[in-house]
């Protein structure tokens, strides 16, 4: 548990951050690794009400296979772009017999959903972690990150309790880039007095990254349809295979 940046009292980790910071990938990986510790029953909830594709509801099968409870809209609404907040989500925050990971939609627009959960949220038991990818527009400076955090806190009515640097450029990620992302997160941490809780990094690169924080070693699970889960090979049919060859 501590290896994953969590204290023994933690019963829910709510992940927020800008679009593309990697919340969903982290939520799914974190849930899988927490399930592997067998300390608690694990639940994951998809609160992404704003992003129509690449939501964690797309990774339901591998999660349920290892006994993780997946809370998502059912039936036809699974593919809707409607703001559906399930009553079960509040239940997750009230149930201390399990550990829940909540994947929230991007930016302050996606975080607005949390305002409906403020009463159920308990300081010290529930965590609100800000995921940051320094390669995303508007999040490449301390100022930019602070502004995004401030907007998310304003929309949700909750305070961010931890930072999770997840700097990457998909197949073009380098260990150096990940390191620079950690430096940026440390600067944001100092400015806002919010600790870095863990560093998210792909398994293949984890050994090359020097981090003084807990490390979440990730597998890429949210993949586009032309790549396969678990067999994602660097650069195989990525964009570089598709350079313009006009005639």
């Amino acid at each position: 548990m501590e290896r994953l940046g969590l204290s023994a009292a933690t019963r829910a980790v709510i992940l927020v951050g800008d679009y593309g910071s990697g919340k969903t990938e982290i939520a799914v990986n974190l849930a899988l690794q927490l399930a592997a510790t067998q300390a608690y029953p694990i639940a994951i909830a998809d609160l992404d009400l704003v992003n129509p594709y690449f939501r964690c509801r797309e990774a339901v099968e591998p999660l349920e296979r290892v006994g993780i409870r997946v809370v998502i809209p059912q039936g036809g609404h699974r593919f809707a772009d409607l703001p559906i907040l399930l009553p079960q989500v509040k239940g997750l925050l009230q149930n201390d017999d399990q550990l829940a990971v909540l994947d929230v939609g991007g930016d302050e627009v996606g975080s607005r959903v949390l305002a409906g959960l403020v009463k159920a949220y308990r300081q010290g038991v529930h965590e609100l972690w800000f995921v940051v990818n320094a390669n995303r527009p508007f999040n490449d400076t301390v100022q930019g990150c602070a502004a995004t955090i401030s907007r998310i806190e304003g929309a949700s009515g909750l305070r961010v309790t931890g930072l999770v640097p997840n700097t990457h450029l998909m197949q073009e990620t380098t260990a150096e880039m990940v390191g620079e992302g950690i430096v940026l997160a440390d600067q944001v941490a100092e400015r806002l007095s919010v600790p870095v809780r863990m560093v998210a990094v792909m398994e293949s690169m984890a050994d090359a990254v020097r981090a003084h924080h807990p490390v979440l070693r990730m597998r890429r699970l949210m993949v586009p349809p032309w790549l396969r889960r678990d067999t994602v090979q660097l650069g195989r049919t990525g964009p570089e295979a598709f350079r313009l060859r006009s005639t």
Binding site: Y19, G20, N51, P52, Y53, F54, F79, A80, D81, V109, N133, N135, R136, P137, F138, H168, L169, M170, Q171, E172, P224, P225, W226, L227, R228, R236, T237, G238, P239, A241, F242, L244, R245, S246, T247
Partner: protein
């Protein structure tokens, strides 16, 4: 500018800014709303204008007005929204004005769904709006290509004084990939707008942007002017990419956008089984790379069109190769993206046929 990780929709917005466009009028619709969201933040930073219109009709007509002044202008929408814009697209083509329209396609017909599709091929390449007009239609397969083609679209729109369409399936708009923004050609390279733009008539003859020609001789003359431009496109603007055509393939795939990427994965898998299949990926859907398809189809003998639709581009592929060569078809619709395995099976079935 260092590489950034961007969603296709954001990248298209940034590409327009980098191309020099400071005028964006739009109405939100999934799966392209992030363009508006991104530009609502970015346009003010560059002293540009973003107006969220009351509807797609309003947005398209704002584009018409801005285009008439000789400014760079664009809008983005998704399938049902583009249907609403189609009347104005016809007007803009008739009035010979430059404008860029982006369609991030979702499943249809009607309101359909919000998942990715390629079922607006007919709408983009054969009209949508009324009258004898054509759009130059560019189909990106990666987020980087969406950036490059958006920047190119403004150049082409001004070069030909004609609306240009970026046709991306929902996946192109929603997925994230690393992108870089190469410096665009300087705005000074755009052709002069003096002879046609409504920039104030002081000291010169009045320019009027219109598509109404009540005199049939004048209207037919306008039709001929447009037709002459479209003829030049057939010579100068056809773009396509190829994959695995040099290994004596036994089957030729024609696919574009996201579907072409899935096909390339399928091609890699068949190669491991010892079966060679080649791909032509049209980058311009109009003008269509018919001659290249015919040339390779003659050599290979077997052709299949693979689409995220019930079969639209397949008609142009068949027209390109003539009726002596059979063109097969495989497609999924409704927002379903076929898996590489499904495509492999479809290709194997076609090879057995």
């Amino acid at each position: 500018m260092a590489k950034k990780l961007m969603k296709g929709n954001e990248a298209i917005g940034e590409a327009a800014i980098q191309a020099g466009c400071r005028n964006y009028f739009a109405y939100p619709i999934t799966p392209q709303s992030e363009v508006a969201e991104y530009l609502s933040r970015r346009m003010p930073e560059v002293q540009g204008h973003f107006v969220q219109a009351e509807s797609e009709l309003g947005a398209a007509n704002m584009v018409f007005g801005a285009a008439a002044t000789g400014e760079l202008v664009f809008t983005t929408s998704s399938s049902p929204g583009v249907s609403l814009m189609s009347e104005t697209i016809s007007y803009i083509a008739g009035a010979q004005l430059p404008a860029v329209f982006v369609n991030i396609v979702r499943g249809g017909p009607g309101l359909g769904g919000i998942l990715p599709a390629q079922s607006d091929y007919f709408q983009a390449t054969k009209g949508g709006g009324h009258g004898d007009y054509r759009l130059l239609v560019l189909a990106p397969a990666t987020v980087q290509e969406a950036v490059d083609l958006t920047m190119l679209a403004f150049q082409l729109a001004f070069k030909y004084r004609n609306p240009v369409m970026i046709l991306g399936d929902g996946m192109i708009g929603q997925m994230m990939e690393p992108v870089e923004f190469k410096p665009p050609p300087p705005a000074a390279d755009l052709p002069s707008v003096e002879t046609w733009a409504t920039t104030g008539a002081k000291g010169r003859k009045c320019n009027i942007a219109h598509s109404l020609f009540l005199d049939p001789e004048a209207l037919e003359k306008n039709n001929h002017v447009l037709a002459a431009k479209y003829k030049v496109w057939q010579k100068d603007e056809i773009r396509f990419a190829t994959y695995n055509l040099d290994n004596n393939p036994r089957l030729l795939i024609v696919a574009y956008g996201t579907m072409a990427r899935i096909c390339s994965t399928a091609i890699d898998e068949l190669k491991q089984k010892g079966v060679e299949v080649g791909l032509i990926r049209p980058i311009t859907l109009y003008p269509f790379p018919a001659a290249a398809i015919l040339q390779h189809a003659k050599k290979i003998g077997k052709v299949i069109s693979v689409e995220m639709s019930m079969g639209q581009m397949v008609e142009d592929v068949q027209a390109a190769v003539g009726h002596d060569i059979h063109v097969g078809f495989f497609g999924r619709a409704g927002g379903i993206i076929p898996s590489p395995d499904e495509v492999v099976q479809a290709l194997e079935a076609e090879l057995r046929a």
